[in-house]
């Protein structure tokens, strides 16, 4: 018996030995390798002028560009890395949005709104690193994979009638980009759960603990975004470093019963809030796997200007003394927790005052002493967020079910006025506006009917449109895409683009289940490429390590206005 058993033991020993070797090799690679898989979690809270609160969760995971780990990952979600490797995705962004970003009161010219205000429903764009003729196949596979990953109907974007190939509306594009939206997708917790599953701590620890479903979905706006970039390292291009950025932006109404009771007459009283009152939960320490875990409170420069900090004049010097009492205990508000650091915006060309950022390290807190930041307003305060250069809205003109027109109207905001006065020296001041509009094939757009109205006067199209690219829709084959570059004079008050269309008639089985509800037309994306919504905070070591703030600094994104509009279409249905 003993003799018989021996070989087994030997085998077992060899196995464990191999395993140990592997383990050691793995560990040593990690130790010596300067690039490790990293994860960081951050939350940014920002009071909004209309008594609401913006909470922006930012989770970033990165995988180093190396083969040393094979296809194993410590923190990085395996599903995502497999997806990137399989479909050779260079860059991809998927967003699920419910509600509309209110550009007028929530601002449109700061890094958060410019990259996180998304069109309602599902939006997906991806840049592929494959030969041209394989892109469509890759896109189809990608949509199906994402559909499975996120429990959403992204697979409807597979059909050629739903996605488009923008020529120059997307900066990274070089013909390899595909863009698709599915505006009528209902976004709910079933999409959030798979999204959270990509986080190493899920929502069991760290900042993600705050993601309480009932309070999230009670909000006014809710956008959950997944952005990934893969950078090629080796010449073969097989291995790639992947940076996965998961953000969740919510606009919530703080529970302001007390404020209403007290100052019912006063309109400008901001509601006091705390994280526990908004989300109903507290942060009990960081996610242990996270490299950094911090919460920021951002006070807009508009708000800061209203608050009149006592030593506003020498604000910059005060920022160096980070624990300066003046910045966090103020006659107008009170923070329940002392901030660990305070940052002032480095420079701002556009405004008189600078934004202030309070940073709270979550590491310090624990189960026994949970982190819960609160802000209590003492005096009424009213301010305005910084607007986009032009406020855009889209209308549907005409009545009936035969034809109509789309009008995109641009109205100048106070920002444009400031911009105009700043640039009034040179007479040839021009404002560049890019319009990107996709319409489904059953909206049969007559591109020759494009009209431009500047200051309510019909003008020649060639005077204001610098560049135009259209790809007309093919019945049941491809959507219509219009990309227009408008060059408007800075003094413009209003500008409008109108374009006529006929409503196509569908076959009986092409109608959605509730046809009388109408069809959603994908949002128009209006961007101002000459404006960079960046927010640079004072140079600091810790700042460089924060992915969220570095995102702010290197924000090359232009402001994007998205508008959704529903078109009602009659069914050519017979009442049989």
């Amino acid at each position: 018996m003993v003799l018989l058993q021996r070989p087994h033991i030997l085998l077992l020993l060899i196995d464990t030995h191999q395993f140990l070797q592997c383990w050691i090799a793995f560990g040593s690679a990690n130790e010596e390798g300067q690039q490790q898989e990293e994860f960081s979690e951050e939350l940014l809270v920002k009071p909004l002028p209309d008594h609401k609160l913006l909470a922006h969760f930012h989770f970033q995971s990165s995988a180093p560009p190396s083969t040393s780990n094979g296809c194993h990952h410590h923190l990085f979600p395996k599903a995502i890395s497999q997806l990137v490797q399989k479909f050779r995705v260079k860059e991809m962004e998927l967003s699920f949005t419910q509600g509309r970003w209110n550009y007028e009161s929530w601002g449109g010219f700061d890094p958060i709104s410019s990259s996180n205000a998304k069109p309602p429903g599902v939006e997906l764009w991806a840049v592929f690193d494959v030969p041209q003729h394989h892109i469509d196949a890759s896109w189809k596979n990608l949509t199906h994979t994402l559909s499975g990953l996120f429990c959403a109907s992204i697979n409807f974007l597979e059909s050629t009638a739903t996605y488009s190939t923008p020529e120059w509306s997307f900066p990274p594009a070089s013909g390899n980009v595909r863009y698709g939206t599915f505006p009528c997708e209902a976004v709910c917790t079933e999409n959030l759960t798979p999204w959270l599953r990509l986080l190493p701590c899920r929502d069991k620890a760290g900042i993600a603990l705050l993601l309480d479903r009932p309070s999230l979905y009670r909000g006014f706006y809710h956008s959950q975004r997944l952005h990934l970039t893969s950078t090629e390292s080796s010449s073969e291009g097989i291995d790639s470093g992947i940076i996965l950025e998961q953000t969740l932006t919510v606009v919530l109404q703080p529970n302001s019963e007390r404020a209403i009771e007290v100052h019912a007459s006063e309109k400008h009283v901001q509601p006091s809030w705390s994280l526990s009152s908004i989300f109903g939960k507290q942060v009990s320490g960081r996610c242990v796997l996270a490299k950094s875990s911090s919460v920021y409170l951002l006070l807009d420069w508009g708000l800061v200007a209203e608050l009149k900090f006592p030593n506003k004049e020498n604000g910059k010097s005060a920022a160096n003394g980070l624990t300066s009492e003046n910045f966090w205990s103020n006659p107008s508000f009170e923070l329940s927790v002392n901030p660990d650091r305070i940052f002032l915006e480095e420079s701002s060309s556009h405004s008189k005052s600078l934004s202030i950022l309070y940073m709270f390290q979550v590491e310090k807190y624990s189960e026994s002493e949970p982190f819960d930041i609160g802000l209590m307003w003492k005096v009424p305060v009213a301010w305005l967020c910084q607007q986009t250069p032009l406020h855009a809205s889209r209308f549907f003109m005409g009545s009936g079910n035969e034809r109509g027109a789309i009008a995109i109207s641009l109205k100048s905001t106070q920002f444009t006025e400031g911009f105009m006065s700043a640039n009034s020296k040179d007479g040839s001041c021009e404002l560049r506006v890019d319009v990107f509009q996709v319409v489904p094939w059953y909206v049969k757009v007559y591109f020759h009917s494009l009209r431009v109205f500047v200051d309510q006067q019909p003008r020649a199209v060639s005077d204001f449109i610098e560049k135009i690219h259209v790809s007309p829709s093919k019945d049941k084959m491809s959507p219509g895409v219009m990309e227009v570059v408008l060059k408007l004079p800075c003094r413009v008050n209003t500008a409008a683009l109108t374009i006529e269309f006929d409503k196509g008639f569908l076959r009986i089985d092409e109608y959605p289940p509730d046809a009388n509800q109408g069809f959603d037309i994908p949002s128009a994306i209006i961007s101002f490429p000459n404006f960079h919504a960046s927010m640079v905070f004072l140079e600091d070591d810790s700042l460089n390590r924060s992915p969220l703030l570095s995102k702010f600094q290197h924000n090359q994104m232009h402001s994007v206005c998205t508008i959704l509009w529903i078109i009602a279409q009659c069914a050519a249905k017979a009442c049989c």
Binding site: S399, G400, N401, E402, R403, W441, K444, Y446, F447, H448, S449, I468, V470, S471, P472, S473, K474, D475, K476, M477, G480, D502, G504, F505, L506, R507, I508, D509, C570, A571, A572, K573, A574, C575
Partner: protein
């Protein structure tokens, strides 16, 4: 009768022509062409002016005019009429030049109809003479069918609406009429040109090759050849000169040669104008292909849109074949029965096409109603003519109302509009059936006159 005859005097004819032209010009000066250009009855995906303008715009922006599913017409039309879609004269209504082209096309068509009608009338009189029936049928009461047909064509509200509504059907109709005129007046190159252009523009006139061959082979409409033979057997003198000529292949071969030449010419022109785009294959796919595979389901006065909006996908091809073969099935029996009356055969074919084509418009009805005017003398005994007239009036009044109820007010549904489309289709069927039977009855009447006359003499 005499009053009518006087009215249709030469002087009165020109008055009517001028009046109809002036009426068109007045309508053109209404703002936005009375929105006629977007009526589904007037502009189909094939004849729509806006789609033509879109195609021209795409071509000007260095894109294929067939990119997207907007334009489905001919590239030649784009080169000829396209510039007129954007040219504007200060102080004049938009698209004035284009409207003027439509008006000219209508007038030219009317003149060609008139010339052909006179031709047909002469031929008819000649054949009556050779049958010695001049006394029995009071030739003095014969109407000038050419004038009547031309006036019907010019004053028909359908024609006016199609002309003012900026559709391309006046041009297509002109090509068809040019073909028939050329064949009647034995201008073979002209006939071939008309046939090739008409086929190129709207495909369906291709079947007019059968009446054209008969026209060229045996000459214009006449009573059946066997009547002449019977007549001469009775007289027992065979006067060859009075017999209608036998079928001669010479002009037909001549026609085929010219048709080939013209089609090569047209294809080369199309190829040149589409050289940097998709080429001829793309053109065929988005013109003929679009016609044959009823892709656009927007409502029109036909019946196919409704049917194909409802039919299951896997039956679609089957029914496409059924509907198109329907036209082809009718060609042969009608050709055999009416071979001695090629112009009437052409009328019947045009009517059938406008009934069964995938995107019919009132412009097509205008054409066959105009052609019907040629046969006022033969069809004098036609039944249901009042019923048909009232039906046409009723449908053309009800159809816009139903369309409004359905599309604009949303108080009706598709069935409201489709009901008028069905009534319209039925009216056209009745018209064709009654027309054909009236023509056959007319031939029968002639035969009775020939065979009955000796009996009368005996008794």
């Amino acid at each position: 009768m005499e009053k009518v005859k006087k009215k249709i005097g030469s002087f009165s004819f020109w008055n009517w022509v001028t009046a109809s032209i002036i009426f068109r010009l007045i309508l053109i000066y209404f703002p936005k062409n009375l929105n006629l250009s977007s009526r589904p009855e007037v502009s189909t995906p094939l004849t729509s002016f806006r789609r033509l303008a879109e195609g021209y715009w795409l071509k000007q922006s260095f894109m294929s005019p067939y990119a997207g599913s907007m334009y489905h017409g001919s590239p030649l039309l784009l080169s000829l009429l396209g510039p007129l879609t954007i040219n504007r004269i200060e102080g004049q209504p938009n698209h004035l030049l284009y409207s003027l082209v439509s008006v000219i096309a209508d007038v030219v068509s009317a003149m060609l109809i008139r010339a052909t009608g006179q031709n047909l009338r002469l031929a008819y009189l000649r054949s009556l003479e050779s049958l010695d029936l001049v006394k029995q049928i009071e030739v003095s009461e014969f109407l000038f069918s050419g004038d009547i047909a031309a006036l019907i064509y010019l004053c028909n509200p359908f024609t006016i609406v199609a002309c003012v509504g900026l559709s391309t059907s006046p041009i297509e109709n002109m090509a068809v009429i040019l073909c028939l005129y050329g064949a009647c007046s034995r201008l073979i190159p002209l006939a071939a040109f008309g046939w090739v252009i008409a086929t190129h523009l709207s495909l369906y006139p291709a079947i007019l090759i059968i009446p054209v061959i008969f026209l060229l082979g045996c000459g214009p409409d006449s009573p059946p050849r066997k009547l002449f033979l019977q007549r001469h057997q009775q007289k027992e003198v065979l006067n060859q000169s009075k017999l209608p000529p036998r079928f001669s292949w010479g002009p037909v071969i001549h026609f085929a040669f010219w048709a080939f030449l013209w089609s090569v010419y047209v294809l080369v022109l199309c190829g040149i104008s589409l050289k940097q785009f998709g080429g001829l294959w793309e053109m065929f796919k988005s013109t003929y292909g679009f016609i044959l595979t009823v892709e656009d389901l927007s409502p029109n006065i036909g019946v196919l849109w409704y049917f194909f909006a409802e039919v299951f996908e896997f039956f679609r091809n089957f029914f496409l074949i059924v509907f198109h073969v329907n036209i082809l099935f009718m060609i042969l029996p009608l050709a055999i029965r009416l071979r001695h009356r090629p112009c009437y055969l052409a009328f019947v074919y045009v009517a059938i096409c406008s009934m069964l084509k995938s995107y019919p418009s009132v412009g097509d009805s205008a054409l066959y109603l105009g052609l019907l005017g040629w046969f006022v003398n033969e069809l004098a005994d036609m039944q249901f003519s009042l019923f048909l007239f009232c039906g046409y009036v009723g449908v053309s009044l009800l159809s816009p109302v139903m369309h409004n109820l359905w599309i604009w007010r949303g108080t009706g549904n598709a069935n409201f509009y489709f009901a008028t489309a069905m009534v319209y289709a039925c009216l056209q069927i009745v018209l064709v059936v009654e027309g054909v039977s009236a023509m056959l009855n007319h031939d029968r009447k002639l035969r009775n006159l020939i065979t009955g006359k000796p009996q009368d003499a005996k008794s």
